[in-house]
Every structure is written in structure tokens, then in C-alpha cells.
């Protein structure tokens, strides 16, 4: 279940875990202290008992009487509860077990050495008496049982706490996870350009999340408004400029119909038409870049067979390339077709611009290779030529709008080709890089695999 770790990292569960840890610590300290105090007092009581037992034996007038007393007492005593051992001066032993201790005082014994049947811990008191050593030991079972009782109490109080706190935390996190998912989904849509996305009504939501949701919706609304305004302005500009451009085209066309027009005038007319075409293509490209950068074409994304697109485009440009004395080839590495999620028209334009760029800015005899492969999971498109290349310092600049290298100022082109490629690539969440093909330039575009792009 891959969801579990994320859920355990959610805030409510983290808080619950922290509370459990704190509660456990406090319980351990308080129960531990109580246990230690209780144990101490039980031990002291036992020591008092032992001292009293010992005092009873001191009444015996001599070693023999003491031995008899011990024997009599031992007969009546269960060694599991209490052990009596008297080592007489003649090294004879009396009692229900043999404990050969000769230093006086309290000791803790584990098992009775001579009697493997008797197990467990004992507290013993040894005293020199009538030339021998008398040891009385009482079983510590009761005191040790105390530890089990305390451990059980600790367990009984901890288990429900942990269960309640954790399940409460999980429940809360599951509930807020839904809200958090709604919020992050909305943000994802907004980032990918769908400005109509909203978190929506937040009834029954926690106040803090609901406040965040409302803020996001307000922000998205404002952004949508300003985007609509920008789009309105750009479509107005487009309309207001296109109409006069269309008129100029009409006038030029009418002019070219004039029969009295002489050779030089015809040439001028041709030049004017060419310039007009140039204006139109710059205008188109700028409008297109602006539209792409607002992210709106993402709504039309679909599965695109990149292999087929590469094949079509190389086939389309091959005769033009060979006319310009270039060699254009498509190298497909994978036998299976490679697909990406995208806009077919824009991806075609991207490839066309890369190929046109390579044809336009390289001398005759240059080889241009379109290559499509996978780098790991990532579909990777490269267009490589063995022409003069682009100096390291200018590689970032050529992706900018209207940037033209000094040596290409005289060749045709809008200076927007690569910046359009750049915007199309970033619309598709693809990574574009320009590297040295020594000699030549290699433009590579690394796409995101299908299914992993956007969609949180």
C-alpha cells in the first residue's frame, strides 16, 4: 500500500505520534517512580520481617538448641516461601536448604545452590549466632510480581492511548487528505494553465484549510480575469493590425494587376509582398508564443505518435534540404513507436522549426540527423547537424525572442524560430538543451513520459 507512508507523514498523524510519544514518556516516568518507591518499601518491610525472624532465634541459649529450633521451624516452612539454614560450629548443617554464607547482612540470592528445586530470587539475612551462621531467606516472588503488575498497568494504559491517538490522527489525516488533495489538484490545474479550476465550496472543512481554499479561489479568479483581459487585448491587437495588413495585401494585389507596371516597379512590388509576408510571420510567431505561454493549448493535449510525426516532417523537408544541398535523415532507434502527450500542430511546428533552422544556418553539404530515442523512460528528440555550431556563450541567448547571431543577420528568418521551439517544449514539460556536436549543434528535447506529466 504505497499510500500509507504519505499518510503517516501527514500533519495530524505526526501530531498523534508526537502525543503518543509524550504520553508514553510521562507514563513511563510516573509509573517507574511509583514502582521504585513501592519496591523499596516492600523490600524494607521484608528486611524488617527478616530481622524479626532473626530475633526469634536469638532466644536459643546454645548452638544445639538453635539447631533444634531451626530444624523444627524448617519442618513447618515451605522452602518456596522461606528458607532457613544454620551452619553449626561443627560444620553441620541444619534447615530446609543449605546456604553457606559467612558474611553477615542482607543479600539477594538467585536460587538456592544446593537445592535446584527451589528457584526464584530470595532476600537473605545472615547473622553469626552461637558460633555458627544462621541465614534466613524470604522469597522475593511477591516483590518481583509487583514489576509484572506495573508493566501490565503501563501496557493497559498505553495501548488504548496509542490506538485512540493513532486512529484519531489517521482519521483526521484521511479527512484532511481529501481536502489537501482537492487543493493540490486545483493548484495543479491552475499551474498547467486551466484557469477555470477552483477548489469550490468548503462546507464542513476545517477552518484553516477552508481559509486557504478561499484564498486560492480568489487568486485564481483574479488571475483568470487578468488573463482574459490580456487575451482580449491581444486578440484586439491581432484584429486591429491584421485588418490593415490584409488591406495592404489587397492593395498590393490590385497593384500587381495593373498592366502598365514596368519591370523595376514589378520588382519593387515583389519586395513589398515579401516584406509583408515577413511582418505576418513575425506577428504570427509572437502571437503564437504569447498564446503558448499562457498555457491555454494544454486543454487540447492528446496522445501523439512522435515517431510518425518525425517521419512525416523529415520526409516533408527532405526534398527542400537536398535542394539546399543538405542531407536530412531520420534515425529511429526504437522499433516500436514513441508517443508523448501533447499538441500535434505545435509539436510538428517545433520539429519543422528545428529542421528549418538547421538547413538555414549551415553551409552546403551539412548532414542533419533527426533522432528519436528513449533516455530511460523519457522520449528524447534530437536534431544534430555538423555545421559551424553555436558558441557556448550564445546557446542560451538563441532561445530568446528575436535574438539573432551576428552571422545570421543576413539570412532570412524571424529570429523567433528557436524561441517558439523553447515555448512549445516548456508547454510540454520538456527539457531543451543545446550542446556541441563537435562539429555542429545538437538540440535535444527530453519529454516527460506519458502518464507522469502534470496530473497530480
Amino acid at each position: 500500500m504505497p499510500r500509507l507512508p504519505t499518510q503517516f507523514r501527514s500533519m495530524p498523524v505526526q501530531l498523534a505520534l508526537a502525543l503518543v510519544a509524550l504520553f508514553t514518556m510521562v507514563s513511563l516516568i510516573s509509573l517507574g517512580a511509583t514502582y521504585l518507591i513501592t519496591q523499596r518499601s516492600f523490600q524494607q518491610a521484608m528486611q524488617a520481617d527478616l530481622t524479626q525472624d532473626m530475633a526469634g532465634f536469638r532466644a536459643a541459649p546454645n548452638a544445639l538448641a538453635l539447631a533444634q529450633l531451626v530444624e523444627a521451624e524448617a519442618q513447618a516452612t515451605d522452602p518456596e516461601r522461606m528458607v532457613l539454614s544454620y551452619l553449626a560450629p561443627n560444620r553441620r548443617h541444619f534447615g530446609n536448604a543449605m546456604i553457606s554464607r559467612d558474611e553477615d547482612g542482607y543479600h539477594i540470592l538467585t536460587g538456592i545452590p544446593d537445592n535446584p528445586l527451589i528457584e526464584g530470587q530470595y532476600m537473605s539475612l545472615t547473622a553469626s549466632m552461637r558460633g555458627g551462621h544462621l541465614t534466613i531467606a524470604r522469597n522475593l516472588r511477591e516483590i518481583n510480581a509487583l514489576r509484572d503488575v506495573f508493566l501490565r498497568v503501563l501496557g493497559l494504559s498505553l495501548v488504548p492511548t496509542v490506538l485512540i491517538a493513532l486512529s484519531g490522527g489517521l482519521y483526521l489525516s484521511r479527512r484532511s487528505a481529501r481536502h489537501v488533495a482537492t487543493i493540490s489538484g486545483t493548484l495543479g490545474h491552475l499551474t498547467s494553465g486551466d484557469l477555470t479550476a477552483r477548489v469550490g465550496p468548503t462546507k464542513h472543512w476545517p477552518a484553516d484549510l477552508s481559509a486557504i481554499a478561499r484564498k486560492i479561489d480568489t487568486m485564481a479568479h483574479a488571475q483568470q480575469e487578468s488573463m482574459t483581459a490580456i487575451q482580449q487585448v491581444s486578440s484586439d491587437i491581432a484584429h486591429d493590425l491584421k485588418t490593415p495588413i490584409q488591406r495592404v495585401a489587397v492593395h498590393l494585389s490590385d497593384l500587381s494587376q495593373q498592366p502598365e507596371l514596368q519591370g523595376p516597379s514589378q520588382d519593387l512590388l515583389g519586395k513589398a509582398k515579401e516584406e509583408l509576408d515577413g511582418i505576418v510571420s513575425v506577428f504570427h510567431a509572437l502571437l503564437q508564443i504569447a498564446r503558448i505561454e499562457t498555457g491555454s493549448p494544454k486543454a487540447n493535449f492528446e496522445r501523439i505518435d512522435l515517431s510518425q510525426l518525425c517521419e512525416t516532417l523529415t520526409e516533408l523537408y527532405e526534398p527542400a534540404a537536398s535542394e539546399a544541398e543538405h542531407i536530412l535523415t531520420f534515425q529511429r532507434v526504437d522499433a516500436s513507436n514513441i508517443a508523448v502527450n501533447g499538441d500535434k500542430g505545435l509539436l510538428g511546428q517545433l520539429l519543422a522549426n528545428l529542421i528549418e533552422n538547421a538547413i538555414r544556418h549551415t553551409p552546403r553539404g551539412t548532414c542533419i540527423i533527426v533522432n528519436l530515442t528513449r533516455k530511460g523512460d523519457h522520449p528524447t528528440l534530437t536534431v544534430t547537424d555538423n555545421g559551424p555550431g553555436v558558441p557556448q556563450a550564445e546557446r542560451d541567448l538563441v532561445l530568446r525572442r528575436l535574438y539573432r547571431m551576428d552571422r545570421s543577420r543576413t539570412s532570412p528568418g524571424t529570429g523567433l524560430g528557436l524561441s517558439l521551439v523553447n515555448s512549445i517544449a516548456s508547454l510540454h514539460d520538456a527539457e531543451i538543451s543545446l550542446t556541441d556536436a563537435s562539429p555542429g549543434l545538437c538540440v535535444s528535447i527530453v519529454f516527460t513520459p506519458i502518464g507522469t506529466s502534470e496530473r497530480l
Binding site: 491584421k242 520526409e315 527542400a320
Partner: protein
């Protein structure tokens, strides 16, 4: 053909109308969406040429309304915007084709002819021919004067497209859309190079040329 032009810019509108009249069509020109709605519902037209941004009722609403009323007349949209979404939006509203301003008259004329033709029934032919050039669509064989001409698949498709529209001009963008399924305008004249290769195979070795260049517009196959 009877055509209705809906265009609010006078220069462009009269230019279109004049050009189409010169080609022998009957043309009505209106400058607002409201007038277009009245004209479009009261008279029968072969093709409507509609600017997307006209006053009163905009082009999109106009076409949606006409389509809603059961009017199936082919519509060619004229637009200042040229983005893909814009195009899709127009086609979804019921437009049949799309032309971005500024356009050459040849492009408009060729597209209007194609739209009018599309509205008629499509014949199922297996042999296409012009003069001594024959294309067998089943055997996928092309012969001229009895000599077989080997063609690449794309050359075959290009020739088939021209032959199916014998005598009618096909512009470069129309060919790009139909043969390569490409909807943007490449800066390099790629279609010209393909036509030139095709000519090298079917025209140059023979006496008469069949593929004709129509200046400022495109290409046409004819005897």
C-alpha cells in the same frame, strides 16, 4: 455559385466580393452578423464566407445559430487569430474550413471551390486519369502513355489528391493539410520541392505538362 460574404472591413470585403464575381460567382456582401443572419436564412447559398469578428452578432454565434436552425451550407471562417484552439473552436461551432488573415485571394478562391465541391456527393472511383496519365487506385499503379512510373507513397498520395480535384487549384496549405496532415505554415516552401520531384517523374520525361503552377495560388492538374 451563390456566395454570401460577411466582412465588416470594407476594403477586404469588396476585394473578396470583386474577386469572386470576376470568377463568375454571384456574391452578396453584408457587414454585420445580424444582416448575415437575415440573408443566410432567407436565401439559399452554396458557401458562406464569414469573418469571425463582425459587429452585432459575431461570426461564431452566427454559424451556431444557422446550424441550430438546420442550415447545412458550408462555412469558411476568416480570422485574425491563427492559433490551434481558435481553429478548433471555429470548427466545433460548425465551420467547415478556416482561413487566417492576411490571405491571398487565390487561397480563398481555392478553398471556397473545395467547400462547394465537398458538399456534393463523393464518387467512388478506382481509376483516375487526366490526358494520357492513369492512376489505378486498387493496384496502386501510375502509368503515362502506357509507361509505368514508380512513385513513393507520399508522391502517390499527392498525385491522387490533385487528380481527384482535376482542373481545380490546390493551394500549398491545402496540400499540406490533405497530404501531410500539417496545419501550420512552414517558412520554407516545402510543397514546391515535392511538386518539383513529382513533375520530374510524371511531366518532364513527356511532351506535355500536366501539373500547372497557378501564380500566387498553388497547383492544378489538367490536360
Amino acid at each position: 455559385m451563390k456566395l454570401l460574404v460577411v466582412e465588416d472591413d470594407e476594403t477586404t470585403g469588396s476585394y473578396i466580393a470583386r474577386g469572386l464575381r470576376e470568377e463568375g460567382h454571384r456574391v452578396d456582401l453584408v457587414t454585420s452578423g445580424r444582416d448575415a443572419l437575415i440573408q443566410g436564412t432567407s436565401a439559399q447559398y452554396d458557401v458562406l464566407i464569414v469573418d469571425r469578428m463582425v459587429p452585432e452578432v459575431d461570426g461564431m454565434t452566427l454559424v451556431k445559430t444557422l446550424r441550430g436552425a438546420g442550415n447545412r451550407t458550408p462555412v469558411l471562417f476568416l480570422t485574425s487569430l491563427g492559433s490551434v484552439e481558435d481553429r478548433i473552436e471555429g470548427l466545433r461551432a460548425g465551420g467547415d474550413d478556416y482561413l487566417v488573415k492576411p490571405f491571398a485571394f487565390g487561397e480563398l478562391s481555392a478553398r471556397v471551390a473545395a467547400l462547394a465541391r465537398r458538399a456534393q456527393s463523393v464518387e467512388q472511383e478506382t481509376i483516375l486519369e487526366v490526358a494520357d496519365l492513369k492512376m489505378d487506385l486498387i493496384a496502386r499503379r501510375v502509368t503515362r502513355d502506357g509507361i509505368e512510373i514508380p512513385l513513393l507513397p507520399r508522391e502517390f498520395a499527392l498525385l491522387e489528391h490533385l487528380l481527384r480535384r482535376k482542373g481545380r487549384v490546390q493551394t500549398r496549405t491545402m496540400l499540406l493539410e490533405a497530404v501531410w496532415d500539417i496545419s501550420f505554415d512552414p517558412a520554407t516552401n516545402v510543397v514546391e520541392t515535392h511538386i518539383s520531384r513529382l513533375r520530374g517523374k510524371i511531366d518532364r520525361p513527356f511532351k506535355t505538362e500536366l501539373i500547372h503552377t497557378v501564380r500566387g495560388s498553388g497547383y492544378r492538374i489538367d490536360a
